[in-house]
């Protein structure tokens, strides 16, 4: 049956979880030396299918052939022996280990039972040089950027001589520059005869690097298409089952009074100069302001300062009241909502059910408790409503443990919680990270609806598309300082890029 031209052949794979069929007789055939994209809505079963290939789950049905030979991948070690490596949607690194230690972990060379680091170091250093990965092997994981962490994951695969590489949403956490570099690395890898499965929600990336694309919808195989002859519109139609609008429809903003005001806000980081330096700006009711900048220029800390997660100097006013010394809870009660950058660190208690996470900030309000006892019925009602409204997909609905949900659906839980609180001020950091195109469209609509209701929205996004489409005003941040205040309608992406690299400063922001 198999013609031998496929490195991976997954035939009629099915996988059941309580309450849901994650994969329903799915086929995936990857040719040697190709980049094969895997596309599908949030919860379509992409990560599950790849976890099966990597030996983390056992399928209920179906067979897997690697290089034409039928195999039984019972655990990740077997996958590794077959040359399969995987970069997970949420990285699996040991944070207080160095880059080198993480790379060799689990595949250590030893001489008479003693770790032989020099041999490992040489091999890794060669790989780094060969692929121009540019990374410090002795830095601890906790001190390097997400983009660098991803390189560590890639090096892990290369160190193990894997030649079938699975990338589960590698670009969701990267900056535009980093994405460009990743694409180059991927192309270099296939040029050497390695094969790649690439999961992403960004259709332009598929157009750029992928050869073929398999599309899943609700656990079912829909089609496998040649990317060159398929438009992004067609791809999204295959995936969602309807046409998706990529531009955001919105009326012209009607900004009213100032809702969020920053006066000379600075954030200190031990051993550094101010990561946020004397920043002042306003966000008015009824406008969406985007904070644009290259990752690591103080956006994260600035948002933490506004939400109260880190201490800051200067004044932060919500509707005229200085909140800079108030607790996180007090700020929330004054109408602040925050879609955090890191959904697993801040956004969710993964061990809690979906419904508990929808009341993570409100569990103590009289709506959800009386005399200190939780009102389980009310919590359930609320979360059922949000699940319906935001189309949150999971195995068992409200009681589903959040950890078992797909990445995009976890994000939707956070969005539902924050947006449904009808905030006065909404901080949205990478709000659509990891969402499929249909969900992005919906979330953008929701954010605009909040704006039109009079909410002041501050968006941080690394995605220029999102910045250009969504914002009514753009603030550019560079090295912890605001360097320009721009009108998106009169600014091109190229100009924006120049401001973001610090090469130019806007009117009123000169040094």
């Amino acid at each position: 049956m198999s013609s031998g031209q496929y490195v991976i052949e997954m035939n009629q794979i099915s996988k059941f979880f309580p309450g849901i069929i994650a994969n329903d007789k799915v086929d995936l055939k990857v040719k040697k030396g190709e980049i094969h994209a895997l596309l599908g809505e949030n919860g379509a079963g992409k990560s599950t299918l790849m976890s099966i290939l990597f030996g983390m789950y056992q399928p209920e049905e179906g067979e897997i052939l690697i290089n034409g030979k039928k195999v039984n991948i019972t655990n990740p070690n077997v996958a590794n022996d077959l040359g399969i490596g995987m970069v997970h949607q949420h990285f699996k690194l040991v944070h207080n280990f160095t880059v080198l230690q993480n790379i060799i972990l689990g595949a250590e060379d030893s001489k008479f039972g003693v770790l032989d680091m020099s041999k490992a170091r040489k091999k890794v250093a060669d790989l780094v040089a060969h692929y121009k990965l540019n990374i410090d092997l002795d830095e601890k994981i906790e001190n390097i950027t997400v983009g660098m962490q991803q390189r560590v994951e890639i090096l892990k695969m290369l160190y193990r001589d894997n030649d079938i590489l699975i990338f589960d949403e590698p670009t969701a956490v990267l900056t535009v520059q980093e994405i460009g570099e990743l694409m180059k690395i991927m192309k270099a890898l296939i040029a050497e005869g390695k094969s790649i499965v690439f999961i992403t929600h960004k259709l332009n990336e598929i157009k750029e690097v992928a050869d073929r694309c398999t599309i899943l919808r609700k656990g079912k195989f829909i089609d496998c298409v040649d990317v060159k002859v398929t438009s992004t519109q067609e791809l999204s139609r295959l995936m969602v089952g309807r046409d998706v609008k990529f531009e955001v429809d919105k009326e012209i903003a009607q900004p009213k009074e100032v809702a969020l005001q920053l006066k000379n806000v600075s954030v200190l980081k031990a051993g550094h100069k101010n990561v946020v330096n004397e920043v002042s700006f306003d966000v008015k009711k009824g406008e969406i302001v985007c904070l644009a900048g290259i990752d690591g220029n103080g956006q994260t800390e600035l948002i933490y300062a506004i939400s109260g997660l880190v201490p800051s100097k200067g004044e932060i006013l919500i509707n005229g009241q200085d909140v800079s010394k108030l607790s996180v809870r007090k700020r929330n009660e004054l109408g602040l909502a925050h879609i955090p950058e890191d959904r697993h660190k801040h956004g969710l208690v993964l061990e809690y059910s979906l419904e508990y996470n929808t009341v993570l900030k409100d569990y103590y309000r009289s709506q959800y408790q009386s005399n200190g006892f939780l009102k389980f019925d009310e919590i359930r009602k609320n979360s059922d409503k949000l699940i319906e409204k935001f189309d949150i997909r999971s195995g068992q609905g409200s009681p589903t443990i959040s950890r078992s949900m797909s990445g995009g659906n976890q994000q939707k839980v956070i969005l539902a919680r924050e947006i449904s609180s009808n905030p006065e001020v909404l901080l949205a950091v990478q709000p659509t990270r990891g969402l499929d195109v249909g969900a992005i469209e919906y979330v953008h609509k929701q954010i605009i609806e909040q704006r039109d209701k009079g909410c002041a929205v501050l968006v941080v996004s690394l995605e220029l598309d999102e910045v250009m489409n969504l914002s009514d005003r753009i603030l550019v941040i560079y090295e912890g300082e605001i360097v320009a205040d721009l009108d998106p309608k009169q600014t091109t992406r190229e100009e924006l890029g120049i401001y973001m690299t610090g090469a130019k400063r806007g009117v009123g922001y000169e040094k």
Partner: protein, 361 residues
């Protein structure tokens, strides 16, 4: 309904499996050690096995009463450890909290201002406060100085033990017996007439207090906003902070509640009419460590702790009666330890069952 039953099974199965494995191992030791012991007949081995299985039922109501009495303190230390664990803290300091609680109880019961019933209640409350205070040190260090609670708990165990020795010698010391003077009978915990149902045992109100404490902790953890906060902090401190929960304060409160439970355990041991005394010996109170096994075996479920506590006492009493069949006390100890040791496999069984369940529809 059917869902509830399968859920219950899923929760209890790992405990039952590790107990089963432990017992099986115990049986092997019994048979092997019996074969090498020339003084033991096959009959002895058979009756020995019987005694082990019968446990606290070996001697009818009297031994049952003794079992309930002995289970009381380890249920409470078990709840203490389980509660802390559910809120993300490892309370290895139950031993020290138990000891300071015990001393506070004895001291107040003897020197308290209300001889009679008032004193035992006051003594119990003092014990809980003392335990809470002792644990608060650990909580404060963890919350505000990021000191690992395991290390500080271990230190507090020794500080507690020696401080209590010092305090005993200077306040309520019986020089002849090298231990605390007895608590006046009027200030001991009421037996509620239980001693007539369970003759020759010391069972008293304490057992009910322990069960009620376990139930209260269960409700606190699972039904209240306070429990919601504490568990959230235990699972993910960053997310708790983001949600506006004061996680530092919660760490301290969690430790204090755990300490109060261990302190209560100490009170109920030393206030019982059976006449337990704090002896001046350099040994940490074992109740604190048994509490860890008890909590582990119950997968940190406070209601489960009632049963795992009873189970461990069941084994201990079974072991005691085995000695009548010429089993060396050491062999009995080995068997008990093996079973408790196997209870550590519980996590393994839990994974195993989850995997099975995940795979089937």
């Amino acid at each position: 309904m059917k869902n509830k039953i399968t859920q219950l099974f899923k929760n209890v199965a790992p405990s039952l499996m590790s107990i089963g494995l432990g017992l099986l191992f115990g049986v092997v030791i019994i048979v092997v050690s019996g074969m090498f012991n020339e003084r033991q007949t096959y009959e002895d081995i058979w009756y020995g096995l019987n005694s082990l299985v019968l446990g606290m039922l070996n001697d009818g109501l009297p031994s049952l009463g003794t079992g309930l009495f002995r289970a009381t303190p380890i249920i409470l230390t078990g709840v203490s450890v389980a509660f802390a664990f559910r809120t993300g803290l490892f309370n290895i300091g139950a031993s020290g909290q138990f000891t300071v609680g015990g001393f506070a109880a004895i001291f107040v019961a003897i020197k308290g201002p209300f001889p009679g019933i008032g004193n035992w209640i006051l003594a119990v409350i003092s014990a809980m406060l003392a335990g809470a205070l002792w644990a608060a040190v650990v909580g404060l260090l963890k919350a505000y100085r990021n000191v690992n609670e395991v290390i500080s708990s271990i230190m507090m165990n020794y500080i507690g033990m020696y401080l209590v020795q010092y305090a005993v010698i200077n306040t309520v010391f019986d020089y002849v017996k090298n231990q605390t003077v007895p608590v006046p009978i009027v200030s001991t915990t009421p037996t509620l007439g239980l001693t007539s149902i369970f003759p020759n045992s010391s069972v008293d109100i304490g057992f009910f207090i322990a069960v009620i404490a376990a139930i209260i902790i269960h409700i606190l953890l699972n039904k209240t906003t306070f429990g919601f906060e504490l568990k959230a902090c235990g699972f993910n401190q960053h997310a708790s902070k983001y949600a506006g929960i004061n996680s530092k304060r919660n760490i301290v409160i969690s430790m204090m509640i755990a300490g109060a439970l261990a302190g209560l355990s100490g009170a109920l041991v030393y206030l019982s009419a059976s006449g337990n005394h704090i002896e001046i010996v350099d040994v940490l109170a074992t109740e604190g460590f048994t509490g860890i096994s008890v909590a582990l075996l119950a997968l940190s479920n406070p209601l489960g702790v009632i049963f795992s506590g009873l189970f461990i006492v069941h084994l201990q009493l079974g072991g005691f009666y085995m000695q009548a069949q010429k089993f060396a006390p050491q062999v009995v100890e080995i068997i008990l330890s093996a079973i408790i040791y196997f209870s550590a496999f519980i996590v393994f069984f839990k994974e195993f069952i989850n995997k099975k369940k995940g795979g089937k529809k």
